[in-house]
């Protein structure tokens, strides 16, 4: 997935007719929509949703700043750059996603 996102980002920066600020935001196919947010430090937040979901850049930003930074970066026991093992991060992320307005209970 990293290769695909990297290729799409460099493609977008070359194709853009104007100067870009945020770059690649999302793409959609006939079945799903993939949302993308990248921090200046290189942390990438990717979310796949249904087609009916609009721009959720602030949601992804919240996942990074309020969840990842608070619970993983500031945790001395979580080694950065490796898979996140933190159970607290997992449960907080899960409850945050479930609280989002576009999360439907129908999806399980």
């Amino acid at each position: 997935m990293y290769g695909m996102l990297f290729s799409i980002r460099s493609f977008v920066s070359k194709m853009s007719p104007l100067d870009m600020k945020d770059g690649f935001l999302a793409f959609q196919t006939s079945r799903y929509k993939l949302h993308y947010y990248e921090t200046p430090t290189g942390i990438k937040v990717v979310m796949n949703t249904d087609l009916g979901v609009g721009p959720i850049r602030d949601v992804l930003h919240h996942i990074y700043s309020a969840l990842y930074v608070e619970l993983v970066v500031k945790n001395p026991l979580c080694p950065l750059g490796q898979t996140v093992q933190s159970e607290l991060f997992r449960s907080r992320l899960d409850s945050y996603i479930r609280s989002l307005p576009f999360f439907s209970a129908r999806a399980g």
């Binding site: 799409i8 977008v12 853009s16 007719p17 104007l18 690649f24 999302a26 793409f27 196919t29």
Partner: protein, 171 residues
Amino acid sequence: MAIFSVYVVNKAGGLIYQLDSYAPRAEAEKTFSYPLDLLLKLHDERVLVAFGQRDGIRVGHAVLAINGKDVNGKYTADGKEGSSGIEMLETDTFKLHCFQTLTGIKFVVLADPRQAGIDSLLRKIYEIYSDFALKNPFYSLEMPIRCELFDQNLKLALEVAEKAGTFGPGS
């Protein structure tokens, strides 16, 4: 359903035709809802369980239906593949729309993010392509398009779309 295979053998003993149609004996049929405990993989035109085991469904079992719609190999019964290619790509400065025809020709349009009506514009471009490029006897398929009428009508269609569609400042 009681017929399992058909083989045709020529005089020299070579196999010239083979047809295997195994009716799935459905020894165990289960319905799951998301999240699945099984890992699925595409194998031999069917979606099979590659890893994981639950309630009698083991490695080798095939997916029969999704959300009530029967599955035929890797396509759903109404002929649509799992997911199409990228149809729209969004950035902060532009939106890229892509329309792929049944023959594999892709029409790509870059537009302002606020521009509306690109889907109909893509279909209009497809129409112009089939009218002025494909019906041109001097045009060969898959080659660069150098047809004057195609250029003219394409520019006209773009002007119509720009006037009708955008909701941003300046048009």
